[in-house]
Amino acid sequence: MASVTQVSMVFDDDSSAAWNEMFSAPGSPRPIYERLFAELGRYQPAELRQRSEQLSHTFSERGVTFAHSGEERPFPLDVVPRLIGAMEWDHLSRGIGQRVHALEAFLADIYGEGRIFAEGVIPRSVVTSSPYFCRPAFAVDPPNGVRITVAGIDIVRDEIGNFRVLEDNVRIPSGVSYVIENRRAMTQTFASLFSDHRVHPVDSYPAHLFTALRAAAPPNQSDPVIVVLSPGVHNAAYFEHVLLARMMGVELVEGRDLLCRSNHVYMRTTNGERPVHVIYRRVDDDWLDPLQFLPDSTIGVAGLVNCARSGNVVISNGIGNGVADDKLVYTYVPEFIRFYLSEEPLIENVETYRLEDDDVRHEVLGSLASYVVKPVDSSGGKGIIIGPQADEKTLAKTAEAVTESPRNWIAQRTVSLSTHPTLVDDGVSPRHIDLRPFAVNDGEEVWVLPGGLTRVALGEGELVVNSSRGGGSKDTWVLTDESIPLSESRVIKQRLRNFNFSPRQDGNVGRGDQ
């Protein structure tokens, strides 16, 4: 059997309702994928598998691993890249930029004058009851106004091909090191694929981050000292902390390396103390400053929040950003965009139901098996219940927990995330994917790293893509031009135009599906 036939047969065997990223119909690759499809078709399955082993070997060698169930594993990188066309990317990156601007305005507002409460856009109680609302962050104003230096906005594509925001991550989003390493490994292993495609590079990320951190520094610091603060080698993302510090050419420090004195921060070095002006911290709020938060934290720096309050140091991302990640607050983000920016959201949320409303809650609990239920403060896919895949006992326990504290949960329509051909044990087969683009705000503009981390759920039908749940990733290529026939580009433009801009009541039960 010819390899082309064999590969194509498995590539497009997707009977689910999900949007297939590569194929518009069985045997018909979407225009942007035509070259990739043809190129990959030349490989024998055994050869693909060999390349795949090369990729994971490269990762093990470079130490690109993450801790899964207590052991260090390479983060599985799939051999089949995910492609995004220039026009779609343009839309997506503008939508992400818009979202980051709105979330910045929201955080500045709730830790300041609270205009949004006075205008009744979001109930004050939603914010004050958020486990992440951080009263010590009140009136800690960053000099250039940036609290979200880095955002990871999780995007999924729904059944009809529309991108939607699944969740916002503006505390300490991680994963960008995989984007950089994936590209590095892919260019080594599949050089020929790149020669056929014009792909936006991703290696300027550290430079953009560095520029943003410099711009965040206290005024009057012409040559600010920037450090990366890591919880240490046992943290799951330690590799990333090392990589970013090295690529930016700044010190990687841990809490014990820093010292606060009279509202200034110093780094202990072999040459004595050195002042520090910007801390790109990868330590959670709770552990960051034992004077303000958990008093027995040994990975934080006592006094840090008051140093930031006095303006002598900038903590990046800002403290208290977690309110914006709260999944109940997420349901209001489209309203934030309208309120702060006077714009319509470019990327919609997934339909989400607020369970404090009695009617909504009863409706959701009445057919819990059809929803995804999430704790409002979860991240990394923890605690998520996928209704259609949950057993009776889990559903009953979930219903009980929701009834007990409705504020702590949200329900979402079960979106069948788009699928992408992925090399698995049985061959190449569609698997669900999402996308975490990374946005960097330097105070002047929000720059979105072209592509981002495409995560893939390796189990068949599995909808949770997080690495903590055994997921893998794909190199994500944003093409610099469409390189597609005019007819098709018109179709895409049409679809972009058809992005649903109509206001939608997230609180209403009912499938808002178009």
Binding site: P123, T128, S129, F138, A139, S262, N263, L291
Partner: protein, 281 residues
């Protein structure tokens, strides 16, 4: 008509260490604040060992004095001196229950309606809730709650530690002003009456002469919302008077702890609290 009282206050507290503390980071909330019922003429916090101090207002508007000490020190002493002109707050007629339950008001005061770990209550302590909610006048309702708390939690200095919760004090049947305040706040919030914790000082009833120093107290009481924030002292069963000097307020004690800190070094013990007060005219 409104008697004013002019007071000089000295609040002294701190820690001693078994050995030396290598470094310590602290926040003192010991500065009275100017408001409707008092005017602060002068206030100053000093710290031993002498270190630079910085001040800011926190989320709740309380004045915070923050400082750190880097030299090894056997003890830490903090002293707050102030001069305050105080008068009893006016108690305006209360709004109705219906007005109190307006969604906009409930949302605005949400922080003072949620239970905290300190104030949450369960079990028999809640038995009279239905009865209290029949009392049409909010002030009378709060008085009934306060009388109930005072009748069931005996004021006994030293009965509980500073970490005690409302439920623990209720179960014990004894407590200090902080505990009676937490229990009262817990009950008022259950009733849907916004209530907050007030930290401050109480000038004792005395016939002391002007300038004569008397032992005052670090004290805690409540404010509840009845159309305006209204002060009430559940420990003494009286409204807030000119003898009550306000430092700050919050959801519970933890938001207004007079001195909190972390340090490196040997075990510590509190120096205790001394509050000296005298009338200035």
């Amino acid at each position: 008509m409104n008697e004013t009282l002019s007071l000089t206050i000295r609040h002294h507290t701190g820690f001693t260490y078994d050995g030396l503390a290598k470094s310590s980071y602290n926040e003192a909330r010991m500065t009275p604040i100017t408001g409707a019922s008092q005017e602060v003429r002068h206030a100053r916090v000093t710290v031993q060992p002498v270190v630079p101090l910085s001040t800011h207002a926190d989320y709740f508007g309380t004045i915070v004095t923050a400082f750190d000490i880097q030299e090894p020190h056997p003890k830490l002493e903090v002293e707050a001196r102030s001069n305050v002109e105080s008068r009893a707050g006016l108690v305006a007629p209360a709004i109705s229950w219906r007005e109190l339950r307006a969604p906009a008001l409930v949302d605005f005061f949400s922080e003072y309606l949620f239970a905290t770990e300190r104030t949450k209550l369960a079990g028999d302590v809640l038995d009279p809730l239905a009865e209290w909610s029949q009392i049409s006048d909010l002030h009378s309702c709060v008085d009934a709650v306060s009388a109930y708390v005072r009748g069931n939690v005996t004021y006994l200095p030293g009965a509980t530690s500073v970490e005690a919760t409302a439920q623990e004090a209720w179960d014990l049947g004894e407590g200090v002003c902080q505990d009676l305040t937490h229990v009262t706040i817990g009950l008022l919030r259950e009733l849907g009456i916004p209530a907050r914790y007030v930290s401050g000082y109480l000038f004792p009833l005395s016939d002391a002469d002007v300038g004569e120093v008397v032992a005052g107290q670090s004290h805690a009481w409540i404010e509840y919302f009845s159309g305006a924030w209204t002060g009430m002292d559940p420990t003494n069963g009286i409204p807030e008077t000119e003898r009550h000097i306000i430092v700050g307020n919050g959801r519970d004690y933890d938001d207004v702890a007079p001195l909190k800190g972390v340090y490196q070094g040997a075990a510590s013990s509190s120096l205790g609290v001394v509050v000296d007060m005298s009338r200035t005219h």
